[in-house]
């Protein structure tokens, strides 16, 4: 009997640490490395950790409460009122007020806001619009509309770095951005004490640092997912959340819709997907993925050079400029597109984005910020700089709008790509948000004290 008790005690002692590992530990510093700017919009990691939106996208694709606890619409979605969560403070102690929200949102979009007017009414903010905004809650859940304390800048040059998120900015030195846990966060304190984000780190160095234990979380571009798996990294990947597309100017040499259509037929999506993005993307000719609409197959993604030549009709437009922003894969994809277009009779010059010249074509990566079709389509069109037409709340209406947009050939969808990151062995409970960004608020470290 005594022997049995002793054995049981030993088993219990051995099982206790195992049970303890299942619970997250507070404390520790998470070391993150990124290639770009963590404050960039959209998708900047620091931005997502420091700032909150009025709403937040749930796992089911619908907008849930965040800084706003409830909302309602009037006048056939022309007027929306969002009531703010009480007791929320910015990281510097400033109480969240409707005036702060109005100032932040106005500063974000200025005259280009989807709404017509924005007012603070007590503890609520009221949006009014000339056109109906049926998906305003989902829109406000997007990364573009996170609330920051107006007038608060940061040493990194970010326009606003004081928010209500789980982490707060503390320092930036030697290329390392340090975020500390916000003890007074309305969502509760995160498990991590600090997050150190080393910025502008090349992908090669990120992976090297991860392999030697100098980093806990690094980026994995879609084109390197295969390689990451081959190297047996712990990869956390999202579903396809970003659309690789060409936006086409309707002015200048490409004001002729036939030439734009010829470009759409000339691009070889499969080569880009299979080789450049190493079969990690989903070829698409539609703006929304098939998971959201189910009619994506109606848009043919196949290349048809004969059709392209036919549509060009012997017209040789002047040298076209294709701008691209992003890493080597994006550059390579742009060069491949230029090569495809050259085969179809176009002269195309690849240039970096931001070049001071007329842009005929732009290869862009557009983030799918919602898992609901209509808000997702709206967000894509807005990100592409296209007008958002009024759409019916039905699959037929959605298809009609998408077909209408695609027939203008001002946007040419190519691929849907996932977003992924690789983590070290001590990182626990990493989840990705619907837009593929890592949610660090719920992350804890294995070896935290």
């Amino acid at each position: 009997m005594l022997r049995q008790i002793a054995i049981s005690f030993l088993v219990a002692v051995l099982l206790l640490p195992a049970a303890a590992r299942t619970r997250p530990h507070y404390g520790g510093t998470l070391r993150v490395e990124v290639e770009g700017d963590p404050w960039q919009r959209p998708g900047g990691l620091a931005r997502q950790m420091v700032l909150d939106g009025l709403t937040a996208m749930g796992t089911d694709g619908t907008a849930g409460p965040a800084l706003a606890v409830e909302w309602n619409s009037d006048n056939d979605n022309h007027r929306w009122q969002f009531r703010l969560r009480p007791g929320v403070h910015f990281q510097d102690g400033t109480p969240l007020s409707s005036a702060n929200v109005v100032a932040s949102l106005t500063a974000i979009c200025g005259a280009g806001c989807p709404w017509t007017a924005l007012h603070a009414v007590g503890s609520s903010v009221v949006f009014t619009s000339d056109s109906p905004l049926p998906n305003l809650p989902e829109l406000l859940a997007g990364d573009d509309y996170r609330i920051a304390l107006a007038g608060a800048g940061s040493p990194t040059g970010a326009p606003a770095s004081i928010g209500t998120g789980p982490f707060q900015f503390t320092a930036f030195s030697n290329g390392v951005l340090t975020l500390a846990a916000n003890d007074n966060c309305w969502q509760g304190r995160p498990f991590l004490d600090e997050v150190e984000i080393r910025v502008h780190r090349s992908m090669r160095d990120q992976w090297l640092d991860l392999s030697v234990g100098r980093a806990d979380l690094v980026e994995v571009p879609a084109e390197q997912l295969r390689q990451a798996h081959e190297q047996r990294l712990t990869v956390v990947a999202s579903p396809p959340v970003s659309l690789l597309a060409i936006t086409v100017s309707d002015s200048g040499a490409l004001s002729n819709p036939n030439l734009r259509a010829a470009i759409a037929f000339a691009v070889d999506r499969s080569a880009i997907s299979n080789v450049i993005f190493q079969k990690q993307g989903e070829i698409t000719a539609s703006l929304l993925p098939a998971e959201l609409t189910g009619y994506s197959f109606l848009f043919s993604p196949d290349r048809d050079q004969n059709k392209a030549h036919e549509l060009r009709g012997g017209v040789t437009p002047p040298l076209l400029t294709l701008t691209v922003e992003g890493g080597p894969a994006m550059q390579l994809a742009a060069q491949r597109i230029a090569l495809n277009l050259r085969d179809a009779g176009f002269n195309v010059q690849v240039a970096s984005a931001g070049a001071p010249q007329h842009v005929d074509l732009a290869l862009r990566r557009l983030t799918l910020e919602s898992s609901q079709p209509q808000p997702a389509l709206e967000s894509i069109l807005r990100a592409a700089g296209l007008a958002v037409p009024v759409m019916e709340q039905s699959p037929e209406g959605l298809y009609k709008v998408e077909r209408q947009v695609l027939d203008t050939h001002m946007i040419i969808p190519l691929l849907y790509l996932p977003r992924a990151c690789a983590v070290g062995g001590r990182v626990r409970d990493l989840l990705l948000s619907p837009d593929g960004a890592p949610q660090l608020a719920g992350v804890s470290l294995e070896d935290a004290p």
């Binding site: 299979n274 080789v275 230029a338 050259r342």
Partner: protein, 618 residues
């Protein structure tokens, strides 16, 4: 141009020609030497270039061979054969090219399509024709993503597979650029510029703008180790020739307007495996050294020529002083002699030909003067003799009657008084008449010796003729130009007066002219004892007026014509021989001339030419 000037010109030309000939010969020789040196340097460079080219070819071939034989390439070949999936190797070429320090590298799959490209990663899946090249190394123009093309030295190697039975092999196509760094490695001599012209450039690989067989020359495509090339457009003929013919071409290129900026250039075509000209290597050797040497020599030649011309001037002056001076003095003396100054002499210097000539000249002039003096003396003696003869003749005629009369008077003293008175009266009459005759003769001689100085007046020569005609033929004068018989003359002489309708003015002494014309008229009348026609006429002849007195008498022999104006020469029985001498004297005093035209039996015409009066003068 005198002798001195001719000598100066001749010597200057001679010096200039000699200096020019020497300078031209030296310049030609220098040019030949420099051109030979340029050719040797170019040939040396070409051989060095070929060695460097072969060295580079060997390097490229070794690098590609190393890659093809490497484990990585063999793994790729194996995995491609197993899976057929080329996607994982998209960036392999870049890594391999970086390791092998190659500018171009492509992995070409068994199907001939690019698996991975270092220089144009986006070209995966496109066919690569160079993979089937047969040569170990070759030149190729490689298309680049930015629309340009680059010239490269390429090699192709198949990857060795572990399974020798594989149908198709993976091939590695690698290469290095032939660009400015390649040119910089070439051993160029000082003053030598190495440039490379390649047809690659913007839009060189544009599918929609097919290039012609030989694209137009583009100066921007000519690059050298220093970047841009001076006067690139001047290279066009050479480069075009090399591109079209595939043969090296050479020439002199003037890069600017300055001769110093000219180069001796050679264009060497670089060909692809198929033999087409992909690029042209130009070797330009500066001619500034040669031009500077030529300019230096030319400057020396100019200096020597100037000095030579100066020496020629001095020499010509010296020669002129020694040769042309005496000759000029001789010429001047000869002119003086021709002008009547027979006393002209020239200095006699030296014993050379010029001195002998001077002595001969002086001797000649001395002889001339002596002969003239002797002639004058002879003529003077002859004149005195003639004068004595004439005087004797003239005086003898009256003296004989005087002698007879005096003898008659002496014989008549014995006659009765009455007869004596008769004889005395007749004798005294005879004596008076003969004495008067003697006075007349003496008066004529006296008049000839005392010709008065002309008192010039402006008269119409027609008036002078009318006055003479009126004096001797009044009817003729009244009838003006008509012909009339002389009523006072017993002979049948007709006078014809030919005057001009317009006045014909001359400046003469009217009395002397009248006297001269009277002598001629009287002579004419004497020449026509049986009658005839006397013609008096005047007419302008240029700047002179011509008066003619013509008769239809017996005429004169040529000998008579020659001596006609000699004083005291006469053909008449009782003439003094002074009439025509007086006429000639009058005419000479009026700066005129007199001549006679006559033939035997055809009459004689005396022609007096006198200068016309200047009618513009008052």
């Amino acid at each position: 141009m005198n002798l001195r000037q001719k000598l100066l010109l001749l010597l200057s030309l001679l010096v200039a020609v000699i200096v020019a000939a020497v300078a031209w010969t030296v310049l030609l020789r220098i040019r030949h030497v420099f051109e030979q040196r340029d050719q040797e340097e170019t040939a040396l460079f070409v051989s060095q270039f070929q060695r460097e080219f072969q060295h580079r070819s060997a390097e490229v071939a070794a690098a590609v061979e190393h890659i093809a034989a490497g484990e990585r390439a063999r793994n790729i070949a194996f995995e491609l054969a197993q899976s057929g999936d080329a996607a994982p190797y998209l960036t392999e070429a870049q890594a391999l090219a970086q390791d092998a320090q190659l500018d171009f590298l492509e992995i070409v799959g068994p199907d001939g399509n690019i698996v991975s490209s270092a220089q144009w990663p986006a070209r995966f899946g496109y066919p690569e024709p160079a993979a089937t090249a047969t040569q170990s190394t070759f030149l190729q123009s490689e298309d680049l993503p930015d629309g340009t093309a680059a010239l490269g030295l390429f090699a192709v190697r198949a990857v060795r597979r572990s399974d020798p039975g594989g149908a198709q092999a993976v091939r590695i196509v690698g290469g290095k650029r032939l660009d400015q760094s390649f040119l910089a490695d070439l051993p160029a001599a000082p003053g030598m510029t190495i440039s490379l012209y390649s047809d690659s450039g913007p839009n060189a690989n544009t599918a929609t703008s097919p290039q012609p067989a030989t694209p137009a020359f583009d100066p921007a495509r000519l690059v050298s180790t220093a970047g841009s090339v001076t006067g690139t457009a001047r290279y066009q003929p050479l480069i075009d020739s090399a591109r079209k013919t595939g043969q090296a071409s050479s020439g002199i290129l003037y890069l600017t307007d300055r001769r110093e900026d000219s180069v001796s250039a050679t264009a060497i075509p670089l060909k692809s495996e198929s033999g087409s000209v992909l690029a042209v290597l130009t070797v330009a050797i500066s001619r500034s050294g040669m031009v500077e040497a030529q300019q230096h020599i030319r400057a020396i030649a100019y200096g020597v020529a100037a000095g030579g011309i100066l020496l020629a001037i001095l020499a010509s002056l010296w020669i002129a002083a020694r040769v042309s001076g005496p000759i000029e003095q001789l010429a001047q003396a000869a002119e003086q002699v021709a002008g009547g100054n027979w006393e002209a002499r020239v200095p006699e210097r030296g014993r050379d030909e010029i001195g002998a000539l001077a002595r001969s000249f002086n001797h000649m002039t001395g002889e001339l003067v002596a002969q003239r003096d002797r002639l004058v003396q002879t003529e003077r003696v002859a004149a005195w003799r003639e004068l004595a003869r004439r005087l004797a003749h003239e005086l003898k005629n009256p003296l004989f009657p005087l002698q007879l009369t005096v003898e008659n008077l002496m014989r008549a003293r014995d006659l009765p008084a009455a007869e004596f008175d008769e004889v005395f009266r007749e004798s005294t009459q005879t004596l008076c008449m003969e004495i008067a005759n003697l006075k007349t003769i003496i008066g004529r001689f006296s008049d000839f010796s005392r010709m008065p100085k002309p008192q010039l007046e402006r008269i119409d020569i027609n008036d002078a003729l009318r006055r003479v005609a009126q004096f001797y033929f009044p009817a003729t004068a009244r009838a003006s130009q008509a012909t009339a018989d002389d009523p006072s003359s017993e002979s049948k002489i007709k006078c014809t007066l030919g005057v001009t309708s317009d006045p014909l003015f001359i400046d003469v002494d009217p009395e002397l002219l009248h006297r001269a014309l009277s002598n001629l008229v009287l002579n004419a009348m004497d020449a026509m004892p049986d009658g005839g026609t006397l013609t008096l006429s005047a007419q302008p002849k240029g700047e002179t007026a011509e008066l003619r007195v013509a008769d239809t008498g017996e005429g004169l022999t040529p000998e008579e014509c020659e001596r006609l104006f000699t004083p005291y020469y006469t053909t008449k029985q009782h003439g003094t021989g002074l009439g025509l001498a007086i006429v000639q004297s009058v005419v000479a005093d009026h700066h005129g001339d007199i001549a006679v035209e006559s033939r035997v039996g055809g009459g004689a015409t005396f022609v007096i030419t006198l200068p016309r009066a200047d009618e513009t003068a008052s």
